[in-house]
Symmetry: C4
Subunit: 202 residues, 4 copies
């Protein structure tokens, strides 16, 4: 399959998933004069929107850093890409979960954070697998990419999974800390050394 198809479909899913996040933010009903107060109370909604937006935006950018160097897509790569999309398009659900239960403290908050971190971890694992498959099948890659460049990307794209995994462990103790780790990873990938568009070799 030509990679432009793969790309257009994946971009569509990323764009829709990122835009559906807003449906998670509630409009309090019949709040009357307590509206400002109730809106302030639902701060986890805004936080969850922001973190999930960042995560999906980074997936989109990193996905391009992979697909741009593909000459074509074979069947296992298509399957791995769908595995990535399966978890990415799920993200609005744990986002709603965190938005709903993050203020509660105790067990419900940790359950929500655990599922959030777990979804992100599966998404990170899927992305790592996608890159590893592509980088080990050099016939799929276009020639422009040097060995050193491939090794550098491998380091960067595989650092995500263990850190997402860490966010699962942390979620058992503190939901906000778990989200902070996920947000920090997104910021790392957005920075120049984050592997997306490594200046000279681009």
């Amino acid at each position: 399959m030509r990679t432009n198809r793969l790309e257009a479909f994946s971009d569509g899913v990323f764009a829709i998933a990122i835009t559906l996040l807003v449906l998670e933010i509630r409009v309090p009903e019949g709040a009357g004069d307590r509206l400002a107060h109730e809106l302030a109370q639902q701060w986890p909604s805004y936080l969850a929107y922001l973190v999930s937006f960042l995560v999906i935006a980074i997936i989109w950018m990193n996905h391009h850093a992979v697909v741009d160097h593909l000459r074509e897509a074979d069947r296992p790569l298509l399957a791995l890409n769908l595995f990535l999309l399966l978890w990415t398009s799920l993200i609005p659900w744990p986002t709603r979960l965190v938005a709903e239960y993050m203020r509660e403290g105790g067990d419900p908050e940790r359950v929500a954070a655990l599922i959030y971190a777990g979804t992100m971890t599966m998404m990170g694992v899927a992305f790592g697998l996608l890159w590893r498959y592509a980088s080990r099948h050099r016939d799929l890659l276009s020639v422009e990419l040097s060995e050193a460049e491939i090794a550098r990307r491998t380091r960067r794209f595989t650092i995500g999974s263990p850190i997402y995994g860490l966010s699962i462990v942390v979620a058992l103790f503190s939901a906000p800390a778990s989200l902070a780790i996920i947000a920090a990873l997104a910021v790392y990938y957005a920075l120049p050394q984050g592997g997306m568009m490594p200046g000279p070799a681009r």
Copy 2:
């Protein structure tokens, strides 16, 4: 009509339908300490999300295997394509229905599975008609496709409808078995011999 238009619009509908599936997965309200339990209870939601995701992903891939070989689209082909999209974009609804009623057992569960299997069958029939029309109007096809290749695709693309039909019959007795058949068909289409991208002839 140029086929790239047909393709872009169809891909848009596939990408949106697949991403809307997540809206079906509920966030329990006010579950408190029973959150983990309630989330576990709604396992049919996760199963329905997974199966519908697979089915739409496979439609997308098989759709490309057809459209990639079209030189142009005439009016009946456009109409058949819209008939396919009509059923595909409906999929989130039977998915919600199965997610809601699959735990209940008895009649409601079977009604939900019946409608789910029925929607998939109509989608499979529409896809079969689309391929049959295209393959019988050789002027619409690009020359690259050999007779043997067309015959092979016809076998593969028409196997879907009777198997989806079987899932309707099975739904009368067992909802999980009906979903299992639909999932197995999706996995079959994802395998190399499943007709999507038959190695040498691609």
Copy 3:
């Protein structure tokens, strides 16, 4: 503005609006053994889904029949296109309204049908204005289109508005008849003489 931009954005709105229609079809809650009965009772939902799907599909096809012949888009044309999209992206709302109130009979049913027909009329008027503007500014059109062809399209594209207008009047007396007129118009446009892709001149 290059017309491919206009087209991609418009197609995106058409694809999303057509796929959002499914959110209108309800899943009865806690219906138990009455599930089949309750699903049968909400037949106006299925009818409204079908008619709105047809209408948006036809707008998409006719829109291409216009934009394909444009060389470029100036500001008034962009504004008219946005006016068309404003009414098209509204369609899921009157669709939900009809689905909810069509069984009720009496005033509520007629109010719902009136708003449905009114939205379609405004959409038809917007489409007519778009075509008229394009056809009167020949510098926007590519040369391939003959005078006779333009006249033929003008007849076809302007027949929609009065018929949609008729569906408003009919809605005052019978909601089903009003929907039937709208559906019949969509079927007319789908037929070969419906103006979308007039064989020889394509």
Copy 4:
């Protein structure tokens, strides 16, 4: 990153956000003979739909006026673009908020208008930053754009932020007046002198 990627993803988000607006318009439940009355009562929904539709349409058009002149996108520009999308994809939420609380008068109405105007202001600021960054890094711009043209666009694209800011102040006193300012700004940008497609220099 090639700008066509940036453009396709951004256009996707714009198209989805503008089409999701319709989900905000309610269908009254069980209104019976009071349906027409209840539909009339929810006029702020229609107003909010219209204004938000206009605003997103204008962002889309102005975004193209920027991206069309970009040769490539570097990392800060990508980040600024995501900052713009973050606020744009949020717009359906304040739109629902205004639709829900605008009739109430008093504090809730002003809170809703304040958040609406605040979201638009952040969006306007993000757009201004995007243009300023692009215009100050001439290596990102294609050569066709003259100094005078750049200065003209800078004036036009930076006029948005202070006017959106004004709509925040006005929201403290009158919600309708605040929305009117936002709508007027959208109309200004839609007019020929609004900077989007300045005839001769294009």
